[in-house]
Symmetry: C2
Subunit: 214 residues, 2 copies
Amino acid sequence: MEHKEISRAVIKRLPRYYRYLGELLEEGIERISSGELSERMKVTASQIRQDLNNFGGFGQQGYGYNVAYLYTEIGKILGLDQKHHVIIVGAGNLGQALTNYTNFEKRGFIIKGMFDINPRLIGMTVRGIPVYPLEELQHVIEKEQVQIAALTIPKGQAGEMADRLVSYGIKAIWNFAHTDLNVPDDVMVESVHLSDSLMRLSYRLSSETKRMDE
Amino acid sequence: MEHKEISRAVIKRLPRYYRYLGELLEEGIERISSGELSERMKVTASQIRQDLNNFGGFGQQGYGYNVAYLYTEIGKILGLDQKHHVIIVGAGNLGQALTNYTNFEKRGFIIKGMFDINPRLIGMTVRGIPVYPLEELQHVIEKEQVQIAALTIPKGQAGEMADRLVSYGIKAIWNFAHTDLNVPDDVMVESVHLSDSLMRLSYRLSSETKRMDE
DNA sequence: TAGATTGTTAATCGATTAACAATC
DNA sequence: TAGATTGTTAATCGATTAACAATC
């Protein structure tokens, strides 16, 4: 219906709001004003109110925001009220690390299997989740109605594997390969480029050092 | 000296330029114009020229940019011409994955050790790199002149550990814990919030589904 | 009711894109 | 020299912040 397209910048901040609200909830805090939250998160209160109002009026004048309510609502916006079936393509250390991270499960991301070409890994289980050979890929995706694939394989094979996953009906790729993927418009890609991140850290370290030399 | 502070947005894009230039280099391409690069990277040529000119005139009118030269120069800007000593705090799957990723080493990030509280991991080696007990932290940091610490431990312990690392002289923290760290201004933090990333993917998946329902 | 704080409009700031003169 | 393409200034666009009327 109404199509006030939400800006990329806002979406990027949503999980952070969710994280802070979760912490408030744990601390037993019931309500919070944009002003208080702004101090904690180190953003302006104005930005918080603007961001939230993209999705509707969650607050109440003179009161602020109800933490539990806002937490739930942002969860819904992020799609965390639904179960998502996930596979991990690439059962190396990184793939295993993702599988072991049980918090994803709590948020509704259910890992249905891991995949690898390495025969030594096939048959192994992590947290009871088996490593399948790649031949099983299509079968498992269809049977388990998998929507999300985490791609934790070397960049050389990533492009081809992405195409293959898309052809099997995958709708979202969580890409850890150090390359950009080209997929159809209706397939979502979220990339975690670890080396890019490390280089940014290196840049800031170097430029800070230079600044101090002056 | 001259202080035309580089914007956050530009710095964020630098590693991506570096990545694409590396690929061009591998393909044996000697020179490239901002127009050609813009097609590959799917950004505007104007942005490429603006970004690069923050650091100096790397191109030549009528010719474009020399790939090898530009690659080297951006490498220098990113601090990749220098060696950085790194430790990994938290020797679980994720820590091991980082240690196994040999490309970091190629870029000058040399891992000097891993650390853990788990006695079962201590003494183990990954690619020849030993897992030390936390008691060795200060000693190794000082002896090996470690600048960068990757933090791959649960969020509950992350804040305290960050303080400890800072007190031992660490100048940059690559934070994988699902929490924001508070450190002094001269200490750089680069966070990789995996769950934030997964939630963004989930958001886009959900909103795409909704759009199609209309 | 008075005080607090939101939701929202308006002003500002910064980042991106367009345009073009400079120059290889 | 003519053609190509940069470096850079100007114009546009979008995102952030400030301000304040609405309202609980």
